[in-house]
Symmetry: C2
Subunit: 408 residues, 2 copies
């Protein structure tokens, strides 16, 4: 790992074990490196699964595999390969995925569709089946590893291992949720896909888990952007082992379902923020809050237009309260907006309101806010009740260095 992001948390958090989940790491040597690069997570019988994947029209065969397996609702293992994305590799890439699933299914005596697989790394090189199989053999007999080891092993260009924790009460039973995630740019340099995995000991029906994960995703992973680019491999999976002994959740009306959904949402938001905080070259974490839009969906598109604007992102990097660039980004979003009703703030300070720059606003708190690491841009469109929040990072020389001063 290269120099730790200045926005990284102080340390990897203390995460509890999840009953029914055992992680192991091994060296498949997908690249010429001496580090663990294959993560193998065994899941107890009866584990349910849900997932969300990239919107890319050109996904990796791993994503296609997961898209097919998720609706079946059951899982027994997860395999994550780091160093080779296996994307754009045709039938050979697909064959590698099938070989991994078959080998693990044979080991666990389960269906291949119970095996979930992700790969991240270089594009266009078929995943070498021999290395994967040797790596799996080593993993099957390895001692279990810590969450931090697993989070490190799934990483590629990440500058720090990312994990988070949440808990909820279902009836009188406490359930734990642990998540690990990797990702820094979108696929840059060729290998910074976002892959996230959530493990819980709660007993929950797969369809309900999917409903909750999809909702949480809309408020977390779908609300972050580093550079507007979308990986061919982005995947988030949630596994529920049911070992906590709670009364199984089957519908949102069940006691504790709200609490579990809230904990899942909290965990997803924590994980999403950890990815943005490792954005390539990032020096500022930016929260963009859009209010007063015609609809929530409209607010979301306007917020992403601001978050993806190179001019806004470079202004924040330069600690410049350049609200004109925010106006520009609102205008280009193509959503309903009325210039003369628009208000903009940096932190808590209004800088423009009702279509006019606020003359003589106090620049001192704005300058102080922009010198910090956590920046908030607020936009009120003054049209309706639609609102959305998204998170991004600034655009710096570091991003260019990582992505241009590099050869594939």
């Amino acid at each position: 790992m290269t120099q730790r992001s200045p926005l990284a948390p102080a340390a990897f958090p203390a995460l509890p074990a999840i009953a029914g989940v055992t992680a192991r790491a091994a060296r498949a040597r997908y690249k010429n490196w001496d580090r663990c690069d294959l993560t193998y997570v065994e899941l107890a019988e009866g584990t349910t699964v849900a997932g969300v994947t990239t919107q890319s029209r050109c996904p990796s065969p791993e994503v296609e595999w997961c898209r097919d397996a998720i609706p079946l609702g059951s899982a027994r293992a997860l395999v994550v390969n780091a160093g080779n994305a296996n994307a754009f590799t045709g039938h050979r890439g697909r064959a590698a995925v099938e070989a991994i699933a078959a080998k693990v299914a044979n080991h666990l005596d389960c269906k291949p569709s119970d095996i979930f697989i992700s790969s991240t790394g270089v594009i266009g090189v078929p995943l070498p089946v021999d290395k994967a199989e040797a790596g799996l053999e080593a993993a099957f007999t390895a001692v279990p590893c810590s969450w931090e080891d697993a989070a490190t092993t799934i990483g590629t260009t990440d500058t720090y291992a990312k994990g988070a924790h949440a808990a909820a009460m279902i009836g009188g039973t406490r359930v734990e949720l642990v998540g690990i995630i990797k990702g820094s740019g979108m696929i840059a340099p060729d290998m910074a896909t976002m892959l996230g995995y959530i493990f819980t000991d709660a007993a929950i029906d797969a369809r309900l888990l999917q409903q909750m994960l999809s909702a949480a995703n809309r408020q977390s992973f779908s609300c972050i952007t580093v550079d507007s680019d979308t990986s061919t491999s982005d995947t988030v999976l949630a596994f529920a082992t049911g070992q906590a002994g709670n009364a199984p959740l089957a519908t949102m009306d069940d006691a504790g379902a709200d609490a579990f959904a809230a904990a899942l949402g909290d965990l997803c938001r924590q994980l999403a923020h950890l990815v943005v905080r490792d954005g390539e070259g990032a020096s500022k974490f930016i929260e963009i809050v859009v209010e007063g839009a015609e609809t929530d969906a409209s607010a979301h598109r306007i917020a992403l237009s601001i978050a993806n604007s190179p001019l806004v992102k470079t202004a924040i990097a330069g600690e410049d309260a350049n609200w004109g660039r925010v106006v520009m980004a609102v205008g280009k979003a193509g959503e309903p907006a009325d210039r003369d009703k628009l208000s903009i703030r940096f932190g808590a300070t209004q800088v423009a309101s009702g279509g006019l720059a606020l003359e003589g606003y106090d620049e001192a708190p704005v300058a102080a806010h922009l010198k910090g690491q956590d920046i908030e841009i607020g936009v009120d469109l003054g049209l309706g009740n639609g609102r959305a929040t998204v998170w991004t990072c600034d655009l710096t020389h570091g991003y260019i260095s990582i992505n241009a001063d590099y050869r594939s």
Copy 2:
């Protein structure tokens, strides 16, 4: 002007005078600088006009003024202010535009709607009417200036003056077209709006001119992107004085209409390329050709997705034949695409085809191509006959320096 773009032409071209067009430049001193910053162009009676403006939902009052005046079809003068965009300035900004139009209309004894106005520069500061009026007084009596002087005077962060020329035969009469344009980023740093003006001595009905300009715009200004950001003030206007003496063009069926439309298209493409070649921090001019899409519109959206991808743009800056990033950008466009039918080339060399990296392709010509200043990326989707071409530049440390290492 700062250091000339490495992609700039060797010199400003020799451009002919256009009968019925007289340009003058003056010092309005919109900023604390000693340069001409007000361009005043007088147009002969009978001049017709057409125009296209930004798609921004938050346009400047100048854009709103032009949008209202263009359909009326007649023009007597153009005023361009550099140094203050007058955008996001509420009723005071609108009043400044009305004051300029009234003053020039009074001078020329014409309707205010015959006066076309653009402003470019800092956002949020109402254009000072007193400076505009004093500048106009000076311009009314100034000696006429050259095309190069006019092109320089409308510029802000441009690193070179931009002009181009085309000609066409209408019946037996030769008509001339001259264009000047300014723009380098979109509005960065606060003042790099694209403003383009085309002048011709052809006699042509305003509605036909609008039809031709809209068509030319779709193949030129709508096909360029520097950083995906959209100015609040982008405007292209075409003025036809009718002094060449050709049989007036009124429909596309008239003799010479095709030739004129072709010349206008050629001129617009030249002008659009000049803007990309002054893209902030640009070191490479990139042509992206998408073929085999389901429709032309789909091809256009895919081409823009590639052109706006920071990862593709940084790869080209790094002279890296990183076709995986091109696949990513195709996939994220949200348009019909089949990974296994996709082919990609850099210059004339195929690097990936039918969903697979081409093993052992000759890297030497690809490396040589990427070392040049003019880069071509070709994508064949293998689905249909839709095609589109767009132009952009690479993303370099220079872009960050210009936009982040700057205070508004």
